[in-house]
Amino acid sequence: SLDPNTNPFDLHFATKLPKREVSDSASAKFLVKDEKANTLQDELNRANSENKKLTEMLARVSESYCALHKYLEEFQSRKSPENESFQNEHLTRKRKQDLDEFVSSPIGLGCRTTESISSDKATVSIAYYPADKSDLSLTVKDGYQWRKYGQKITKDNPSPRAYFRCSFSPSCSVKKKVQRSAEDPSFLVATYEGTHNHAGSNAGGSRTVKLDLVQGGLGQVEGKKERGTVREVLMQQMASSLTSDPNFTAALAAAISGRLVEQSRT
């Protein structure tokens, strides 16, 4: 729309040129974009600096935690350990799990390895021992010698829970917890953590039903040494045929874990 007769030397020539609205707004956009990029870059630098500080702090706290944990373990192994309750009382399962996940995470500077965690988990098993209700000793004859190192009352069960270490400790790190069953007080429930690295004394004097938690099924039925009557043999045969039935095994495992109780309530 510029008039071809317009004098370019006219002082007002510039005003007669068509307005460059498009290019002006593009330039403004560039400026705004540039400002935004600068702001983002600043924010990114700040976040990166915070990230670095957090990582350093985490490394320091992890080191302190590991040192303290090691110290506590030594303390526990030397002295009789009311501190055992640390694992059971003060740290909830969820938090323990979080912590395990953390120490084995690539960021975490953990003091335990993933292998040790998984191997710990892989060797947890539960055994049930028939016991006289009047017997308050919480000792079970499972073929191994144990040293009791603690006892406590739990919220879910009126009977106390006793803690034992293998008598070969510290060379054998197996531990067990024994408590009278809340569902059936005529049984003692022993939870074993770890596997013995030595032979037992084979002093089993009572019948046990052992559940391997990893397999989730019935492990083995151990009998009395002096089994010999026809009735005993028949009972053993019945037990072994039942345990080979996967439906029975599943039902038993469900009953023990309390699922059947829950189902009957709903």
Partner: protein
Amino acid sequence: STTSALVDELKRVNAENKKLTEMLTLMCDNYNVLKNQLM
């Protein structure tokens, strides 16, 4: 594209910071539990 790349990077670093903060909180909690055990 630079801006969107910056935004993406910022999101990633912020998410990592959040995770680090959570871990630090958890670690401090557990450290204090251990410390209380020894006191």
